[in-house]
Amino acid sequence: MRLSQPPTRPSTQSGLTLLEVLLAVSLLGILAYKGFAVLDSAADTTQASTSEVLVEERCQIVLERIARAVMSSSRESLAPAAEAPLSTEELTFQMHLGIENGEVIWSDPEKIALEQLENEAYWTRTPEAGPEQRVVLTHLVRPYLEGELPNGMDDNGNGLIDEKGLSFVVDRNAVHIRITLERVDGNGRLVTRTAQTTVTCRNPVPEVVP
């Protein structure tokens, strides 16, 4: 019985030495650190990229909404009508609603403007009867357009002086619209995007025709 019994190995033979364990733990630690660093970097990149995309997207959406409002107006209803190198951070207009009895029906005056202190671009309308209606288009508007400083000069070389983060320039029947949005992403970095477009007022100025 004793001879046939195989000799038992000491239990220590099946484990690892302390050195091995320490080495393994160190290696794993290094790997984990590197792995986390890579993941962290990827997350940062993703976050930055997402922030940029979101700001870009918001920029385009706001610009498009403003552009369509201007397109639906007539040149005569635009006020104030600043021409380059001046610009305004607000634009009042009236939109075409329809035609009744041969007369064009216009909306109550509507306004798209920049609230510089709040970094807000907003749309507002004050009906003849009833309270003011107000919609904030975005609260990411930069106080001044990208590259511009309030110094009485054209710093960004676009032909305008001290233009705000939302600016309108009227050129005959066309309106140049520029906007810069800015936000701080999760990593504390500033993401800035600028977009601009030029649209014409599609509604004609009523003319006296014999």
Binding site: S14, E57, S72, N101, V104, R202, N203, V208, P210
Partner: protein
Amino acid sequence: MIHLHHAEAAHERRGGALILALVVVASVAGISLGLLRITQATTARQSHAVDDKRAFYLAEAGLSQAYFGLGAGMSGQIGSIEAPALVGDGLAWVDATERADGLLVLRSTGLCSAGRATLEVVVERVEEIPGIFADEEISIDAPFLVDGYDPEQPYFDQVKGGAITIDPAYPFLVVDTKNKLLFYEELFYRYYKVAGNNYSYDAVLDYRAHQLPEVDWDDFTDDDGFEEPPATMIGGPKGVQEDFVDEEYDSVVDYFAGIPKVTPPFISPKPTPLGPTTGQNGVLGSNGPISLTSGGSTLTIYGDVTPGPDACVSTGLGVVITGDKSARPAPLELEEVKVPDVDLLPAIVHDSSIPRVLPPGTLGYEGIQVAPGRELVLQGPGSLVVGQLTLDAEALLLVNNEGGAVDVFVTENAHLSQDSRVQTQSQDTSQLSLQGAPSATELELRARSDFYGTVYAPDAHVAVGKDFEIFGALVANTLALDPLVRLHCNTGDELGSAPMPRVLGWKIQEIPAQVRQNRGPPEQLLGIDKSTLKPLAEAGVKSSWTFTVTYTDLANQKATYQGPFEKFEHTKVKFFSPFPMPKLEPPDDEYTRAHGEWTMYIKYKTLFNIEKEFTGTVSTFSKSVMFQVAFVLDSAFYPPE
């Protein structure tokens, strides 16, 4: 036992690693999926935004095509939701709907991938001012000239033949060989001036001297500094009548007497007889009958004479009308003159040697009188409202409308005396209008003038003298023309073209419900085969034939209809009344002329209650079938392919 214990322990450790690995993998997969969803959503949003913009542009393209099609005899309809037009890699269609007030609504929808956009414009059809027009009957007994010209080119460039040359044998005369007319040197200058060469009078003479260097022009200069043809050069082989030339030449000399140097622009005496002509495209119209006699001379209207509905044109001996004499299907509604709202200043009499200049802007006077030999300048752009406008003999009204349009509104009457002058700086007829307010009674236009503009006085009597040559349009309530008046319409320059309608409003509209919810591919959504669709430029629907008919309806009431042929509700007809005869007029459309006419199907009963069917062209129906129809059972109409 010990083996078993070790084996179980090892098994437990392997399981733990697996679970750990699964958790890690699941976490990573979750994060990846989340990121993927975010990326997909962002991409989709961006893609939709781009698609929406593209759809917007497609809708604008549709609107543009429809709008400009209206000017070419199209209906404004382009394709339909069932068969839209192909534009780029998207689809578009335009629905044209006529409102009860006569305005036309064009609603264009563009589809591009997931993008959708609908835009709308409301337009007002503009009926072209038909050349020379009077609301009341026209009855003229005098030779006068009516023709038309393309305003894109100077009138004299379009004169038939255009063979205006200098004959060395008669260097004082410019000879229009085609029309056998003679022009004096001053007219020669004028010809060059209107042809766009802004030469001075002296420069024109220099030019002629350069062309004929062998002639010593000084030999032919009289004491006044004007050329006088020697008697030997009068008459001769060209058949120039000596008396005629002498008499006319003297009148030219008289005209310039006392003026040492002529500087352009100035107004020439009119050539007689009626002078050169383009020989086409004139329009003389009325809402009443038109009676023309030539006062013992010959009278040719180079173009159409269009009387009012149910009226006719009567002509005397020697009157020739080169165009159509058909009556208008309906009276022409003349738009009322809208006078600018301006406070009128007291009347003024300008009697100073210093020209009086009225600046740009809107001004109003109770009256303006320009004394003999004095000059009044209207500076454009601007509008002048005036109660009584009087130009005394030799007075000059200079309209400086090169910088902007000038509109003169007369609220009482205008008297431009025979020896006064009216000069317009611009030959663009849209830059000048002389309008008679509803309160105006008479515009007497006898000044010497090349008037490039529109005289529009639908409520006033307008009298035109022989020296008041109009290039543009003239609309009056009643019209009187002196002998030898020359009127040149700038309308009807190209058959088949209609005036562009006026845009009243543009707006973004709600997308049709059929395509609003589903953002799938447009052709799948609409269930259409793209290969069967026409491109945008070819998908327009032609204007219909205009149908004018009197009929008895099912309630035995007499009714009349005038409008698009396919919109006429035949099922309301009990039978067509024989008088007045039903009339079908084709759309004024080059495409239709080239491709044929509408075809129609009609199922009807005859007076003897026999059921019949007809398929064929509308003109065939109009000529032979229409009168058999007692009751319409069914009908359909198809535009030309």
